[in-house]
Structures are given as structure tokens and as C-alpha cells.
């Protein structure tokens, strides 16, 4: 079998680490992440960044798909209100996110799984803080069990 792990690995328990998908707008939050990196600020390696042009680009479909494909947490971040590179993308996004967040909470999805925030290009510290706190929130919730995986009945 090709799928087997190297000798002796099979029986070792691997400590679970949350996988967190961060959708970051190119102009502010991604630059904020960059600044955190340049400033050598530590933030958890659990966060996988997906760069998008603007928080307005993010469809609720992206977020639901991330959960379905096994993300334990999702964070979306854009420019602060008033600072959008495209004038108002983040304002439009905010309305969509409010509805999505409300709906997911309503059907009983654990509240700490999905986060929205604004992080500017100059907020490297804030970026690291938010990623840290989101990671801890998700870690406390444990592995995602709702909304994950396809629905084959066996």
C-alpha cells in the first residue's frame, strides 16, 4: 500500500491542530499580515491565508465551502469602513456578512467558528492579535463537526 505512513508512525496520536482559513483583502488586511511578518510578530501557523481583491469579493459560498471542506474556523477581514480601495466594497460585504452570520448562528452552528473583522495595512499587531484570539477560540471548540463533508449515506 502506498498510503501507509513511515514505519512506527501509525500508532502515534497526533495532536489535533485547528485549520483556519483567513480570507484577506489585498489592500488592507493582507498588507497587515505582511506587516506582521516583516515585524516578526508571531501568529499561529494554523491560519491559512487566501488573498482576495476586496472583502466585497467574498461570497458566502466561499465561507460555506471552506467549512464543508473541513475548515475548523473561518475569518474574513477587509479594510476599515471608509478605507476600501474600491470605495465601498467592504460596506457591501458587511451587509452580506451580517446576514450570513445571523443565519449560521440561527441554525445552531457554533458561534466561534466564523469571524469577521477589519484590519488595516498598518495594523500588523492587531492582525497577529486577532489571529491568535480566533485560533484560541476555535481550538477551544475542537474539531469542526457541523457542515463538514459531503452527505453520502452508506
Amino acid at each position: 500500500m502506498n498510503a501507509q505512513a513511515p514505519g512506527g508512525m501509525e500508532n502515534r496520536s497526533v495532536e489535533w491542530e485547528p485549520r483556519i482559513i483567513a480570507f484577506l483583502c489585498n489592500w488592507c488586511s493582507y498588507a497587515g499580515a505582511d506587516l506582521a511578518g516583516v515585524g516578526r510578530l508571531q501568529y499561529p501557523s494554523n491560519v491559512r491565508i487566501i488573498r482576495v481583491p476586496c472583502s466585497g469579493r467574498i461570497s458566502p459560498f466561499f465561507i460555506l465551502s471552506a467549512f464543508q471542506k473541513g475548515a475548523d474556523g473561518v475569518i474574513v477581514s477587509g479594510c476599515h469602513p471608509g478605507d476600501c480601495h474600491y470605495i465601498s466594497g467592504n460596506y457591501s460585504a458587511r451587509r452580506k456578512f451580517a446576514l450570513l452570520k445571523g443565519l449560521l448562528d440561527h441554525i445552531g452552528i457554533e458561534e466561534g467558528r466564523l469571524h469577521f473583522t477589519w484590519i488595516s495595512a498598518s495594523e500588523g499587531g492587531r492582525f497577529a492579535d486577532v489571529m491568535g484570539s480566533v485560533t484560541e477560540t476555535v481550538r477551544a471548540l475542537g474539531p469542526v463537526r457541523q457542515m463538514v463533508g459531503p452527505g453520502v449515506r452508506t
Binding site: M1, N2, A3, G149, V152, R153, T154
Partner: protein
């Protein structure tokens, strides 16, 4: 009741059904009608009391027992090269009894046998489920106004597709063996022999019940009319109210079109077979974008002609058993019986 063995008929008291099923559960998976949230559906029961035989018919047909809505055909680990370590998910359902289905649905399984069971291209997934299945049907003492089984060649006590058939008689069911498998099953379960008078009573009641359901149209007349009506302008108005959903096909006991879809899940690459519907927009859309059936009109025509013309040509029997589900469940009451009547009458006029 064609083909039943009258001599070996046994009785099963209505009050004894739960106990009888409970006894079966040790060796069998029992799939029976269950009432849940106001909807009757066929499910594998875990206790004999779950089964509810006092029902008219289930919302969905029980065809999922032999053709599940989703079933895995193949899978392999993501890490394996294409074509290696492929697992064939051939079903191993053990012994399954489909208990208390209506004769129309049993006929539906008989129809599916012709599609999946025969010829060189036999379907091993279907065959594995089918071979382990025993079908116990329940004759219809009170067919509904939406039923039209006799029109499609069946009847409220049709035995086609059944291994055993039960008929109500007061506070008991008289159970007849139809097939060898059915007879063997009966012989193993020590039910007491039915009284001769009861057997005769249900046989004559069944005959009366069949006689009361006069066929609405002649199938051969309908087919003859359809064969020349593919391009009939009438399809425009007949299908106009169709909204193009898949309800009729998904509740139907004989609709069997499927899609094959792949996904990656839990470290495996998986190939599933799922139900599809000829009413859906992507069903025949080609890679180039061309679609020979671009609107609800062509799609409805396909479903109807498939059932009453193409299946007759191909399988020697129509692809409709007259269960009436599509009549009841169509969101816009596009009644298949009216289309049948239209084309039959059209022929009559010619």
C-alpha cells in the same frame, strides 16, 4: 391474483405483524412503511412496532432499496496513483425484506430489473441489492382516486415483482407465495394455514377490486398515438405549466436515470452514482453548450414518451406502474393522466 399458490396461503393476524417483524429482525433487514413527521416513507426498522401498514402509499417510492439516491461505486485513497488501490463498493446488504409495499411499487422493482438486470451490461451494484431482496407486497383493498395501476397493465393485487403478496381480510392478512423464494420464506416462518373460506374471500374481493378500476386509456392506443406525436404542437400547451423541477421523477418507482459524480472526501477519491432527472437543465446539455432538450417542453415530452413509448419498445412494458405519486406531488398539478387521455383521445379522433 395471478400466479399465487392458493393452497399454501397462510394467515398473519394484524395484531401479530409487529411480533412477526420483530422475529425477522434477528436475520433480516426489514424495510417497511414508517410514519414520521406526517410523512410515510420506507425505512429499515429497528423494532416491529415501527411498521405502519395502515397507509395508503408512501411519499416516495421504495425504489431506493435497490437503487439508492446516492451510492458509492468506486473509491481509492488520495495518495494512490490513478487506477491503483481502487475499492469496488459492491453492496453487501445481507438479507433484506421489503415488507408491505404496494403492488404498484413491487411492479416498479420488476421494471427496474429489466433496466439493470438484463443483458451483457448487467449492473453488479443493482444485482447485489436485488438478489438479497425479498419483496412482500400488500394488495390494495382501497385504491385511491389518483391510482391508475390497471391502466398501465398492473392492478391493486398485481403480483409482478413480488415474492409474497398479502391481502387484508378482516383483522388478518392472508399471505400468498408468488415465487419460489417467497414459498421458501413462508415455509420457514411457521405461520398457520389460512382458512379456505378466507382465501376464497380475498381472492374474490381482489377480483372485484380489479374490476372496479377500469383502465382509463388503452396503452397500445396511447403508444400508437405517441409514435406520431413527437413534434405535435400540443406539447406546447400540455406542458406549459411545468416548472421543471424533479419531483415527478424522484417520487417515481420506475424513473431510474442517474448521474455519476466524483468527489474527494476524507482522504479518498470517490465516485458516486446519484439519481438524476430528465427534467433538470443540465441533464442533456452537451459540453459545447448545445442542448437537444433546452426547455421544460422537451424535457416533459421526454419523460412522458420514455414511459409510454420508448420503454415499451425497449423493455416490452411501459415505464409507469400507475402509482399516482406524480399526480399527487406535482407542485402545479400537471396530471400525467390528463396527458395520457389527451393522446389516447387524439388517436380516437383520427
Amino acid at each position: 391474483m395471478r400466479g399465487v399458490n392458493e393452497m399454501s396461503a397462510v394467515r398473519l393476524g394484524k395484531g401479530d405483524v409487529a411480533g412477526f417483524l420483530e422475529g425477522l429482525l434477528a436475520d433480516w433487514t426489514v424495510v417497511a412503511p414508517v410514519m414520521h413527521d406526517g410523512i410515510v416513507s420506507f425505512r429499515a426498522i429497528t423494532s416491529g412496532t415501527e411498521a405502519d401498514l395502515d397507509y395508503s402509499n408512501s411519499a416516495q417510492s421504495p425504489k431506493g432499496v435497490v437503487l439508492p439516491q446516492v451510492e458509492t461505486l468506486l473509491s481509492c485513497p488520495c495518495s494512490s496513483p490513478e487506477g491503483e488501490d481502487v475499492v469496488e463498493h459492491t453492496p453487501e446488504p445481507g438479507r433484506v425484506v421489503l415488507f408491505g409495499v404496494r403492488p404498484c411499487d413491487a411492479r416498479g422493482i420488476g421494471f427496474l430489473d429489466r433496466v439493470f438486470g438484463e443483458g451483457a451490461n448487467g449492473d453488479n451494484y443493482y444485482a447485489s441489492r436485488r438478489e438479497s431482496l425479498l419483496v412482500v407486497s400488500l394488495g390494495c383493498s382501497h385504491p385511491l382516486a389518483t391510482c391508475f395501476c390497471t391502466t398501465t397493465g398492473g392492478g391493486p393485487f398485481s403480483t409482478e415483482g413480488s415474492d409474497l403478496i398479502m391481502a387484508e381480510h378482516g383483522d388478518e392478512y392472508i399471505v400468498f407465495a408468488v415465487t419460489e423464494n417467497g414459498a421458501t420464506f413462508l415455509s420457514r416462518h411457521g405461520l398457520s394455514k389460512a382458512a379456505e373460506s378466507a382465501v376464497q374471500a380475498v381472492l374474490s374481493a381482489a377480483e372485484t377490486s380489479v374490476a372496479e378500476m377500469q383502465p382509463r386509456v388503452g396503452l397500445s392506443i396511447l403508444k400508437g398515438s405517441l409514435d406520431g406525436s413527437f413534434d405535435a404542437a400540443a406539447w406546447n400547451t400540455l406542458t406549459e405549466k411545468c416548472v421543471g423541477c424533479g419531483v415527478c421523477t424522484y417520487v417515481c418507482p420506475t424513473c431510474h436515470c442517474f448521474d455519476i459524480v466524483d468527489e474527494v472526501s476524507g482522504g479518498s477519491r470517490v465516485r458516486n452514482r446519484i439519481w438524476d432527472s430528465c427534467q433538470f437543465p443540465c441533464f442533456t446539455r452537451q459540453a459545447s453548450g448545445f442542448d437537444p432538450r433546452p426547455t421544460y417542453r422537451e424535457r416533459y415530452r421526454q419523460r412522458f414518451m420514455h414511459k409510454f413509448s420508448f420503454c415499451t419498445d425497449r423493455y416490452g412494458t411501459p415505464g409507469c406502474v400507475g402509482c399516482g405519486r406524480c399526480v399527487t406531488e406535482c407542485p402545479v398539478n400537471l396530471d400525467i393522466r390528463r396527458i395520457m387521455a389527451f393522446f389516447s383521445e387524439k388517436r380516437g379522433e383520427e
